[in-house]
Amino acid sequence: MNWQTLASALFGEAHTIERRGDVICGTAQLQGQTLAVVGTTDHAAIGVETALAQAKFILDTVQNHPGRAMLLLVDTQGQRLRHRDELLCINRYMAHLGCCVDLARRSGHRVIGLVYDQALSGGFITSGLMADSCHALPEAEIRVMRLPAMSRVTKISEEVLQALSLSNPVFAPGVENYVAMGGIQSLWAGDLQASLLAALADANTADQRAAMGATRGGRKLASEVTRRVLLA
C-alpha cells in the first residue's frame, strides 16, 4: 500500500502528511486527538540525512507538543550502503533516531510503529522496533535477508532452509514470522483506523516482545534466558 492510500485509510482527509525526499511527516486528526506522523517511503535507504530528518520531527514534537501520540510509518530497504555514510558515522545518526523515539516514549508520548510496505534490518531497528508497539499490514515484508542470500552466508542449501523455515520462524522473511516471534504485536487488516485506535488505547509501555514470542511459540528461549539472568 502506498503512503497516500494508507493515510486516507487511517485519517481520511484529516491529515497534513507530506513527502519531503524519502521522508513523510505531518499531523493527523483521529477522534479528537492529534497525532504526529513520521516515516519513510519508496523503500527508502536510511542515510544520515533521512535519519536526521526523522529525528528532528520527533524532537520538535516532544519539545512543542508534549504528550502528542506518534505514528512511525516504516518502508525501508535498510541503512544506506555508502562509504560517505560510514565516514560520517551513520550508526550514530541512526542510533540518535532510535534514542529520540525512546525519549518520546519515556516522556509520555504513546508511540506506535506500523510497517506498511517493507522493513529491513537497520532501518527498522531504529524506528518501528523502538516504538511502544509495532504492527504491520498483512502484505508488508519484513526481513534481514532473503533465503538465497542466507544460503550463501550460512553455506546451507536453500531447500534445507526453506524446509526449516516451515517449522521455525527465525529463518525466513515474512510478517507472520515476526508476529510469532513477538517483534510485531499484531497485523492490521480491515478497518485500519480501528486498529490504530486500539493500539493507541493500549497503555502498556514495557518491552514484552520476548514474552509474546514465548507465548506465541516463535521465540521460545529469549524470555526464559533473560529471566534466568535476573534470578541468578
Partner: protein, 312 residues
C-alpha cells in the same frame, strides 16, 4: 607486561579487565544455554552462545559486565546471545552497579538466526536505554579484531560512553557489504588503510564518536573504564537537541568530504597523513583540551582541537 585486548578471548578480557578473582559468571558454559537454531542448521554451537556475562569489581567498585566472543560466529547476536545481554542490562536496574561494561566485538545480527537477532538487537537497545535512564552508565569497550558493526554499532552509540583502541573499528555496514552493493570504486574493502581511516578508532575519536582512544592494551582499557564508573549521561531532551545540532552541523561541515583525511584537515589537523602513525596517548593529549569534563565534552564538536596550531 602489555596484554593485547584484541588477542585475548572474551573470557580472558573479562578476567584481566576486572579486579583479579572478582568475576562471577552468570549462565556460564556449564549451564549449556545454547542456541536452539544453530543445531537445526548443523552448525556447531557454543555453551555460552558467544557472550560472557556476569558481575565483578573494578578498583573495588561493583560492576556488571558482558563480553562478546568474536571467534564464535563473529560475535553475532542471536536469540540467546541477545537475551543474555538484555538480562544483564535488566539486572543492572536491580543491582545498581557503578557501571555496565560491554566489551563489544560483533558483526551485528547473526545471520543464521536473522529474524530473532534483529528483534534481539532492538530489545538490547531498549534495555540499555532503560539502564541509562536510571542513571547507571553503560560503557562500551571496543577493541576486538572483528570490530563493532551493524546492530552492535547502533547499540554502541546508545551507550553513555564509548572507548575504542586504535586497532578497533566501529561502523554500520561492513566494507565488504558496501563493496558488493555498489562496487569497488565505492568502498575498496581490501584497502586496509582506507577501511581503518574510515571506521577505525582514531577517526571515530577525532570526530567524537568514540569518547576515549586507548592502546590495544588491557591495562589501558581497564583504566579508561575505571575513569567512567558512575559517570552517567542521561538522555534528556536537551541532550538530544544538542546531539541533533551536532549531527546537523557535521553534515554541513563534512558532508562533502571524500576521505577521512579531508575531514581531519578541516578539523584543524595540520598533517593528517601523520595520524595513522600516532600513539593513542599522543592523540588523547592533543585532542582533549585541558579541563574539559569528558562527560560534557562529548556532546561538543571537537571543532577546535588543541593541535590547531599545527602541532600535528
Amino acid at each position: 607486561m602489555k596484554l593485547s585486548f584484541s588477542e585475548l578471548s572474551a573470557r580472558e578480557r573479562v578476567a584481566h579487565l576486572l579486579d583479579a578473582g572478582t568475576f562471577v559468571e552468570i549462565l556460564g558454559p556449564a549451564e549449556r544455554v545454547v542456541s536452539p537454531h544453530l543445531a537445526l542448521l548443523g552448525v556447531p554451537s557454543a555453551f555460552d552462545d558467544g557472550v560472557v556475562i556476569g558481575s565483578g569489581e573494578l578498583y573495588g567498585r561493583a560492576v556488571l559486565i558482558a563480553a562478546q566472543e568474536g571467534e564464535f560466529m563473529g560475535g553475532g547476536v542471536g536469540e540467546v546471545h541477545g537475551a543474555k545481554l538484555v538480562g544483564i542490562l535488566r539486572r543492572a536496574l536491580i543491582k545498581r552497579p557503578a557501571a555496565v561494561l560491554v566489551l563489544a566485538e560483533s558483526g551485528g545480527v547473526r545471520l543464521h538466526e536473522a529474524n530473532a537477532g534483529l528483534i534481539a538487537v532492538s530489545e538490547v537497545m531498549r534495555a540499555l536505554l532503560d539502564v541509562r535512564a536510571a542513571g547507571i552508565p553503560v560503557v562500551m569497550l571496543i577493541g576486538g579484531a572483528n570490530g563493532c558493526f551493524g546492530g552492535m554499532g547502533l547499540i554502541a552509540r546508545c551507550a553513555d560512553h564509548t572507548v575504542m583502541s586504535d586497532a578497533a573499528r566501529m561502523s554500520m555496514s561492513g566494507p565488504e557489504v558496501i563493496e558488493s552493493s555498489h562496487g569497488v570504486e565505492e568502498f575498496d574493502s581490501r584497502d586496509r588503510a582506507l577501511v581503518w581511516r574510515t571506521t577505525g578508532g582514531k577517526h571515530r575519536f577525532l570526530m567524537g564518536d568514540g569518547d576515549r582512544l586507548v592502546e590495544d592494551d588491557m591495562e589501558a582499557f581497564r583504566d579508561a573504564a575505571a575513569a567512567l564508573l558512575g559517570e552517567s549521561r542521561p538522555l534528556t531532551l536537551e541532550f538530544l537537541l544538542a546531539e541533533q545540532a551536532l549531527l546537523t552541523d557535521r553534515l554541513m561541515r563534512f558532508g562533502d568530504c571524500k576521505d577521512a583525511q579531508d575531514i581531519w584537515l578541516r578539523l584543524g589537523v595540520a598533517h593528517p597523513e601523520q595520524v595513522t602513525d600516532m600513539e593513542a596517548a599522543q592523540m588523547q593529549a592533543l585532542f582533549i583540551p585541558a579541563g574539559l569534563v569528558p562527560a560534557a565534552g562529548n556532546i561538543l564538536a571537537r571543532s577546535a582541537p588543541a593541535c590547531a596550531e599545527g602541532s600535528l
